[in-house]
Symmetry: C2
Subunit: 330 residues, 2 copies
C-alpha cells in the first residue's frame, strides 16, 4: 500500500503538503495540488484510517451491542443504524451477546479499548456499572430499546402504552380472559409492557393471566412454552399477548397444534417488526418503527461523539410510539 510518503516523494513535496492538499483544509497552490493529485492517483493511494484515527484521537466507528439478530427486531434496527452511520462517515461494529452477561462484559471491554468512539447498546441489565464506567471514560453511550440507566441517553418505545392498548383493543374485540407472556421483569421493556397490561386489566375489571419460564426470553420456544402454560391455567382463555413477534409465533404454533383458531383465541404481538404482516395468517401487532429507531440511535450517538467536551449534552431520552396494526390473528 502506498503511503503519504510515497506520494510526497513522487510529487516532490513534503508529506505535510500532501496531507493538506488531500484533506483540502489549508491553502495549497493549485499547481502543487494538481501534481499531488496526479501522484496519489498514479500510486492508487488510500489514506490509512488507523494512523489517522491514532493521530486525531477519533475512530469514526460506533459499536452496537445487541442480544440477538436473527428474527429479532434488532436486525432491522441494525440496518437503520448502519445506514445512518455510513452516511455520516462512521463504520459500525457489531457484537451479539445472546443475552449473556459474561459475553456482554467481554464485548464492552473490547470496545472500550479504543475500538469505538461511541456505543449503542441493548443491555442484558447485568453490567450497569461497566456501562457507566465506559460512559465516564469519555465514550458516548446510547441505550437502545432497553433503558436501564436514566443518566444515559436512550431510544425506546412506549412499552407501557403498548401493553395498555393491546388489552383495550382485545377487550373491544370481546376478549375477557387475556393472557400475557410475561417474564424478564428486570428489563424495562418487559416490565413496561406488564405495567400497561396490569393497568388496563384492572381498569376493565378483568383478571390477570400471566406466565413465564426459564428459557431465553426472546425466542420461539419461550412463546411456545408460555402459551401452553396459559392454556393449562385457564380453560376460558380467549387472547394471548406476546411481547415480541417471535414469542407470538411460538404461541400461534401451540394454537395450531391444538386446532384452536383465531376466532377462539386471538394473538397479538407487542413488538411488531414487519414479519407479522408476511405470515400466511398475518399477526396483529403493535408495530415499532425499527428502522427509524436505528437511524435516530446512530444520529444521537454521533452527535454526542462530536459534541466538544466543554459543552456536554445532558442525556436525552427519545420515546417512539408503536401503532396498532390489525391483521388476521385477532
Amino acid at each position: 500500500m502506498a503511503t503519504l510518503k510515497d506520494v510526497a516523494r513522487l510529487a516532490c513535496v513534503d508529506v505535510s503538503t500532501v496531507s493538506r492538499a488531500l484533506n483540502n483544509n489549508s491553502y495549497v497552490h493549485p499547481d502543487t495540488k494538481e501534481k499531488i493529485y496526479a501522484a496519489a492517483k498514479e500510486l492508487g493511494y488510500h489514506p490509512n484510517v488507523v494512523a489517522k484515527a491514532l493521530r486525531q484521537g477519533k475512530r469514526h466507528t460506533i459499536g452496537v451491542v445487541v442480544p440477538r439478530l436473527h428474527l429479532a427486531i434488532f436486525s432491522e434496527i441494525l440496518q437503520g443504524i448502519e445506514e445512518e452511520a455510513r452516511g455520516r462517515g462512521y463504520a459500525t461494529l457489531i457484537c451479539v451477546t445472546e443475552d449473556d452477561a459474561k459475553t456482554e462484559k467481554e464485548c464492552l471491554n473490547r470496545l472500550r479499548n479504543g475500538f469505538v468512539d461511541g456505543i449503542i447498546i441493548a443491555p442484558t441489565g447485568k453490567n450497569g456499572h461497566l456501562i457507566r464506567d465506559i460512559k465516564a471514560s469519555g465514550i458516548a453511550v446510547v441505550q437502545l430499546v432497553r433503558r436501564q440507566d436514566h443518566s444515559i441517553s436512550s431510544i425506546v418505545a412506549d412499552y407501557e402504552t403498548c401493553g395498555y392498548e393491546a388489552v383495550t383493543y382485545l377487550y373491544e374485540k370481546g376478549c375477557r380472559e387475556i393472557g400475557l407472556i410475561a417474564g424478564a421483569q428486570h428489563l424495562e421493556p418487559y416490565k413496561g409492557r406488564y405495567t400497561g397490561y396490569r393497568k388496563a386489566i384492572k381498569k376493565l375489571g378483568l383478571e390477570e393471566n400471566l406466565s413465564e419460564c426459564n428459557l431465553p426470553v426472546n425466542s420461539f420456544e419461550y412463546g411456545y412454552e408460555c402459551a401452553n402454560q396459559l392454556l393449562a391455567d385457564n380453560y376460558a382463555l380467549d387472547a394471548i399477548i406476546a411481547c415480541v413477534d417471535i414469542q407470538g409465533l411460538g404461541a400461534r404454533r401451540v394454537l395450531k397444534e391444538k386446532g384452536i383458531g383465531c376466532d377462539q383465541i386471538k394473538v397479538i404481538s407487542l413488538t411488531g417488526h414487519v414479519v407479522g404482516g408476511m405470515l400466511r395468517t398475518s399477526m396483529t401487532s403493535m408495530e415499532m418503527p425499527a428502522n427509524e429507531m436505528g437511524m435516530k440511535a446512530a444520529a444521537m450517538v454521533i452527535e454526542e461523539i462530536e459534541t466538544p467536551f466543554d459543552r456536554k449534552l445532558s442525556p436525552r431520552h427519545l420515546v417512539f410510539s408503536a401503532s396498532l396494526v390489525e391483521r388476521e390473528s385477532t
Copy 2:
C-alpha cells in the same frame, strides 16, 4: 485514559518494559512484573488498540458486506461470523448494501483503507474488479453465499442440488406443474437453483414454469408478484418453488388471498433458515446451516489473514449441502 507512559512512570520503569510485561512475550523479572501489574490496575489501564494496530499492521477486525439483514439468512450467518470472530479475538464490522452496487462500492472502498484485515462478502455481482483489487492489495477476502470469482475463496451451499431435489420431492408428492420464482440469474445461487430445477424438470418430462420481475429479489414483494404471475400463466399450477424464505412468504400470501390451500398448491423454499418452522402453517424448505456457514466463513478469512505471505494459501471453496425439511406447506 491512562497510557503505557503513565503506567511506566508510576511503576518507575521504561515503557518498553511495561509493554513486555503486559504482553507476556519476553522475560521480565517477577518483582518488576508485579509492580507493573499493580500500576496498571491502579490506573485502570487499557491498551489502545488503535496504536497497537498501527504499529503491528494488523487491525484484528473483519468486515462483513451483505445485501440485507432483516428477515434474510444473512442475519443468522452474521451471528455465526461474529461469534467465531470474537472467539478468535477479532471484531466484526458490518455493511449493508441493499444489493445496490454503488453502496457496495462505497463500503468496500472504506473497508480497504486500513479498516479491516479481511472481508467476507455476499456481493451484488457488480464490483468484481474492485473485489479483486482489494484481494490483490493484501486483504483476505471470502465470498459468502454468492460466489462470483473462482480465484477467491468461498462458502456456498449446493444450490443446484437444492433446486433439483425440490422438484423431485414435489414430483413424488404428485405435482406436475411446478413453478419457480426465478430471476437474478447473474447471481450464482439463483442461477444454480434454476439449473437444478431445469435439469429435474427435463428429466421428469415436465414443463418449466418461470416468472421474474423487477423488484428487489430478496423480498416479500418479489415472491408475491411472481407467484401471482405463475398463477396467471398456468391455471393448473400445483407447486411453487421460492428461492428464499421471504419470497416463500410472499407466495403463500397470494395463495391465502385467493383461498388456495396447501393441498392444491404446495410451496417450498430453497433457503430455509429457521423461520419456516415457526410459521402457523410451517413451510417446507431446504434448510441451510446458516450459523455454521457463518462460523466457517469467519474461520476461513481469519486463517487467510494469519497465513504468512511466504506461503499463500490457494483459494478454497467450501460447499454446504442443504437438507430437505418437510413441513406443512407441501
